[in-house]
């Protein structure tokens, strides 16, 4: 039994203590309101209502009086006046505060107050209680992050007062540390703060006041600050990565498309204008497109790159043959290939035999080397069958001063388009080398006269020379320079291969009736 009693007593004690604690918190709010109102309210007595069923009026006095001195009367409209009990409280600075808590509260009707001190009225006031609310700050203030950057959602509970749910006005203030920003909220107990800095800690506070239409009052005190950090920019890396991937994929696709259609694109954007310039050295640059002139000066034009000649495959044979002593390769000529199309091998062999057979036909070692060299060079295609003919022709070409360029005019028309380039090689000199047709070449044991005779015999294949144009056929690698003096045609053979090219070597397009065999250049003609 005693134990039970003890627990009961203990429980009661705890209860009272908690009540006191709650009262103390209430008092703290009350005290703060009183303090604030003393500064705000000018009228006396100062009154405020905390809820729907109370009204507190107070005043301050410096005289060290007691509550008994004062009497407080209040009168509602159309009613008799009533008395309110005055209580006192000591305040700082030797002041005393006197309170009166009205037992009965009526709203929406005038209330007439009077304060008497020692029978004398000191204060009187007429007021409407519904216009004097001083509410407690809102409860359950919560600040949360929304899904978006720079936003915070603030919610709170409205004051739990009946009939006043729709009559509240709130003020929210927030700061990142330095300055406070305020926002007024009506008819809602939540707000989304926007335009905040990312990844920053914000403090938020809320206070409440009746909206002033039906109910009015004073701003409540601020709630305790609630802190929350805004979301960091952690969403961005994901978006950034996705964007990068998409961009990469797009770039890849575009590159693939570009590469696959590169040729067509190139054709569209930079259409290749075919130009025959490479086949006509100097035609456009030196002679400005004047073909006649270019033909006439083909000697000069024949100088350029050795590659040009390699392409044409022509010089080799000429070189070899010319080097030999002026034993006219007449026999060779006679055995020249008659058929341009068919292989000229037979004739070549004959030529070779002739060469070897002839005493004077001693190709110098350089010639061998040259031949070999040219052999290798002539691995490439020989596009013109008649070029080899020229080779064979080369062997016959030995022109000397006695050779006069034939004034004959061979019709240029015979020149086919294909053979035109080859003319480049031999324009300057009229090829007096005779082909097989010219079997009637006179024996020219003398140097240099072969050609002339052969040329005489071979009118058809002689281009109309413009004058004596000197052999300009040069062997590229040997760097042979053309010796244009007709006298030196063969005598300079010893000087080198250059001797060969004293021939007037005219481009001769083999006519269809001129059978010229296409001898591969590497076969010693």
């Amino acid at each position: 039994m005693t134990m039970l009693r003890k627990t009961q007593h203990f429980g009661l004690l705890i209860f009272f203590l908690s009540q006191k604690a709650s009262l103390e918190t209430v008092d703290r709010h009350f005290e703060s309101k009183v303090d604030l109102l003393l500064n705000v309210e000018t009228e006396n007595p100062k009154c405020f209502a905390e809820g729907m069923r109370d009204l507190t009026c107070f005043w301050e006095d410096e005289d060290g009086g007691s509550a008994d001195q004062y009497s407080f009367t209040y009168t509602y409209e159309n009613e008799k006046s009533s008395e309110c009990k005055v209580t006192s409280q000591p305040a700082e600075g030797a002041k005393t505060r006197y309170f009166c808590h009205l037992p009965k509260v009526q709203h929406f009707g005038d209330l007439y107050l009077r304060v008497f001190r020692d029978g004398l009225q000191i204060y009187n006031r007429s007021l409407l209680i519904n216009l004097l609310f001083w509410l407690d700050p809102p409860a359950n203030l919560t600040v949360t992050q929304t899904g978006k950057l720079g936003q915070l959602k603030v919610t709170w509970l409205p004051p739990p007062l009946k009939y006043m749910e729709n009559s509240m006005m709130y003020e929210v203030r927030y700061t990142a540390g330095s300055t406070w920003k305020e926002k007024v909220v009506r008819e809602s107990t939540e707000i989304t703060l926007q335009g905040l800095q990312v990844n920053t800690k914000y403090k938020v506070q809320v206070r409440v006041k009746p909206d002033g239409l039906t109910y009015d009052g004073f701003w409540s005190s601020w709630t305790l600050p609630v802190s929350m950090t805004t979301a960091p920019k952690d969403v961005d890396p994901l978006i950034l990565a996705l964007c990068l991937i998409i961009t990469f994929v797009l770039v890849l696709l575009s590159l693939t498309a570009l590469v696959s259609h590169r040729s067509s694109l190139q054709k569209k954007m930079w259409p290749l204008i075919p130009s025959p310039e490479n086949k006509f050295p100097g035609l456009f640059t030196v002679y400005g497109g004047d073909f006649q002139e270019w033909l006439g000066h083909s000697g000069g034009g024949l100088r350029p790159s050795p590659a040009f000649f390699f392409f044409e495959e022509l010089p080799a044979m000429l070189e070899v043959l010319s080097e030999a002593t002026p034993v006219p390769p007449r026999s060779v000529e006679s055995r020249a290939c008659n058929l341009p199309e068919s292989g000229c091998k037979e004739n070549e062999e004959d030529l070779q035999n002739a060469e070897s057979g002839q005493e004077g036909w001693q190709p110098t070692p350089p010639a061998h080397w040259l031949m070999k060299h040219f052999q290798t060079l002539q691995q490439g295609p020989s596009p013109f069958s008649w070029s080899t003919q020229l080779e064979s022709k080369d062997s016959y070409v030995t022109l000397d001063h006695s050779f006069q360029p034939k004034p004959q005019e061979t019709p240029m028309d015979d020149i086919s388009e294909e053979s035109a380039p080859l003319r480049v090689l031999f324009t300057s000199a009229e090829i007096s080398a005779s082909h097989s047709d010219l079997g009637s070449l006179p024996q020219s044991s003398r140097s240099g006269r072969l050609s002339s005779e052969s040329s005489l015999e071979y009118p058809h294949s002689i281009w109309p020379p413009k004058g004596i144009s000197y052999a300009s056929l040069t062997l590229a690698d040997s760097g042979v320079s053309v010796d244009y003096s007709p006298m030196n045609s063969i005598r300079t053979a010893a000087g080198g291969i250059g001797g060969f090219y004293n021939n007037d070597y005219k481009n001769e397009i083999p006519k269809p009736n001129e059978p010229l065999s296409g001898c591969p250049i590497y076969s010693a003609c």
Binding site: M52, R53, Y76, E77, N78, K104, V105, Q106, H107, F108, G109, D110, L128, N130, K162, Y163, N166, L213, T214
Partner: protein, 182 residues
């Protein structure tokens, strides 16, 4: 061709039968409706507060009591509340009409007309909430609590407080609105 005619006739018949019955008004539950009236009344009261001369009434006019004791009010029956409110509104309308007749200023006249129409609208709102209509007997509102005002600012103050208090409480606690809301 015949079917549309039939439909038209049918619709007309339905309309007649429909109109024969008293169609219930849609309940006006938005508190902002009354709040607007309260705002206008308050603005007029503030405007008239400065009026001191020439604002006294020829004779005191009966006006309803405005103060509300919540404890008492909540105990009251809803119908009684409606009666109290409607009689008060009627009294106020009467008083405003009397004042309007004696006022010469055009601005005042327009303001008073506005108040009068607002009171009428409030009566319509109350009717929409299914409150039984109540008209105080012309003989007097003896059983109703009234008091008399002698100046226009006072009248307007009563007007405002009446709307803020009893009328607003009645509308806020109307059963028709509660059922809709819940």
């Amino acid at each position: 061709m015949e079917i549309p005619r039939l439909v038209a006739v049918l619709l007309m018949v339905l309309e007649w039968t429909h109109s024969g019955l008293p169609s219930p008004l849609r309940p006006i539950c938005d508190p902002r409706v009354l709040d607007r009236f309260i705002k206008e009344a308050r603005d007029m009261e503030v405007t008239m507060r400065s009026c001191s001369d020439g604002c006294s009434l020829a004779e005191p006019l009966p006006v309803p009591l405005t103060s509300v004791d919540f404890a008492v009010w909540e105990k009251e029956d809803a119908q009684k509340q409606a009666q109290e409110v409607q009689s008060g509104l009627w009294l106020l309308s009467e008083a405003i009409s009397v004042v309007r007749a004696s006022v010469t200023s055009a601005m005042l006249q327009s303001l008073l007309d506005n108040s009068h129409s607002n009171l009428h609208s409030i009566r319509q709102v109350i009717r929409s909430l299914n409150f039984q209509e109540y008209m105080p007997p012309t003989g007097g509102t003896a059983h109703e609590e009234t008091w008399r005002v002698s100046s226009m600012p006072e009248l307007l103050r009563v007007h405002t407080n009446f709307l803020r208090g009893k009328v607003r409480l009645l509308l806020a606690s109307a059963a028709a609105c509660r059922r809709d809301g819940s």
